[in-house]
């Protein structure tokens, strides 16, 4: 299943349609093969899938239902210090895919792709600087990605997603604390990850001096999803 923020390219649409078709087939197979799983709402869901223009699909029976990212209200920001002065920035374009059942967190998966060329510090002069090779080098690696490898529950709506964070071609293991809150069918995932910019060569060359730009960067996220099961 897929939840995409950026508008689907024709190929992407085709892919997702073909995946839809596959899933309908596999769901049908699943229904006939495993009657136990065909309880309650499953048939209705399949019908909805077949009717919807570009819905999500689950390729493997074990994967939880995919959620859909709601761009409105979702935000990924970052904060660092420049000679003691906190500087805030945010990413204007990103794309999250989530397949997660709060009741079975270990089966969940989350991935995130952030368009680094759409990073902004709120000042055109600084933004022009951010895309340069010393900083994000967006010509070479346009996206930062996170791919979870394990999710575990900590209780009370809190979870921990372990995974690989890749920026500028540098990959590091990170542990992301996530708090989920649900209201009116929307699930909001929030959290903060502390990273070291130099781990990813962000601010290379003369910018390596951490007395100028601190090594610590806080990345804060708030992602709204629909289609996540109840907590």
């Amino acid at each position: 299943m897929q939840a995409r923020l950026n508008q689907g390219l024709p190929t992407r649409l085709a892919t997702s349609l073909s995946i839809t078709a596959l899933s309908v087939v596999s769901a049908a197979l699943m229904l006939s093969a495993t009657p136990l799983m065909a309880q309650t709402k499953a048939p209705a869901k399949v019908a909805a899938n077949a009717a919807a223009p570009a819905p999500a699909t689950a390729a493997t029976p074990a994967a939880p239902a995919a959620a859909k990212l709601v761009p409105a209200g979702s935000d990924i920001t970052f904060t660092f210090k420049q000679m003691g002065v906190p500087v805030d920035g945010h990413f204007k374009r990103f794309d999250a895919q989530l397949a997660f059942d709060p009741k079975k967190p270990e089966t969940g998966k989350v991935s995130l792709a952030i368009d680094l060329s759409a990073a902004t510090l709120g000042d055109p002069a600084f933004d022009a600087e951010l895309v340069k090779p010393e900083w994000f080098n967006t010509k070479k690696v346009p996206q930062a990605t996170f791919q979870s490898t394990a999710i575990k529950a900590l209780g009370g709506g809190k979870f921990e997603a372990t995974g690989k964070l890749s920026i500028k071609g540098q990959v590091r293991d990170v542990v992301v604390p996530v708090t989920l809150a649900q209201a009116g069918g929307t699930t909001t995932a929030t959290g903060v990850v502390a990273i070291k910019r130099l781990d990813y060569n962000i601010g290379d060359g003369e910018w390596k001096d951490t007395s100028m730009v601190a090594n610590d960067v806080q990345v804060k996220f708030k992602l709204n999803f629909t289609g996540v099961g109840p907590l």
């Binding site: 000679m83 003691g84 002065v85 906190p86 709120g122 000042d123 002069a125 003369e206 001096d209």
Partner: protein
């Protein structure tokens, strides 16, 4: 031993030590911050530029604090009496002094407000975060930038007028005006 104190205090001919210290300290700081401001705004983004901007802000806040101290001191301590000069010149001198004091506050405050409006809070010496004077706002930032720039040029013009008057007194009048702001015996 007892000494007989004169019944009349001698007429003060010089500023007191604290006034002199603050005068010269601020003279150096203000000229330094002004030159830094002229230079740094022409630089493209680099660590040097960011460093200078921060130093400039730290200097500005220091100037503001010292100016507040100086004003309080000035209000509590009478300066020496005017040297003999035409009344219009004395009035002009007092006017320039008054405007200088106003600029000592207006220039750093407009810079601080500019930084606040631009979304960059001032952290004094990289340690003490100062409150934002105004909320971040791009249009307001542009206004304060302009105000800061012109107030700084205004202060520079006042300093030049001040220096011009000193030169006049030293070279033309030879009335010992400069000695009032220099340490030495009364």
């Amino acid at each position: 031993m007892t000494t007989v104190r004169p019944s009349l205090k001698p007429v003060r001919r010089r500023y007191d030590g604290v006034a002199m210290l603050l005068h010269w300290l601020l003279a150096v700081a203000i000229i330094g911050a002004f030159c830094m401001g002229l230079y740094m705004t022409g630089l493209s983004i680099s660590p040097t530029r960011l460093k200078l901007y921060n130093w400039h802000k730290w200097a500005g806040v220091t100037i503001l604090a010292l100016s507040a101290l100086r004003l309080l001191w000035r209000l509590g301590h009478r300066p020496p009496a005017d040297l003999p000069m035409p009344a219009w010149q004395a009035r002009a001198a007092h006017l320039v002094h008054g405007l200088l004091y106003a600029a000592f506050f207006a220039v750093p405050l407009s810079g601080w407000a500019y930084s606040s409006a631009a979304g960059f809070p001032v952290v004094w010496f990289g340690v003490l975060p100062l409150p934002n004077l105004v909320a971040p706002d791009k249009a307001l930032a542009a206004t304060f930038k302009l105000a800061h720039e012109w107030l700084a040029y205004g202060l520079a013009a006042l300093v030049l007028a001040h220096l011009g008057a000193v030169v006049k007194h030293v070279v033309l009048d030879r009335d010992g005006l400069l000695q009032r702001m220099l340490p030495g015996r009364a």
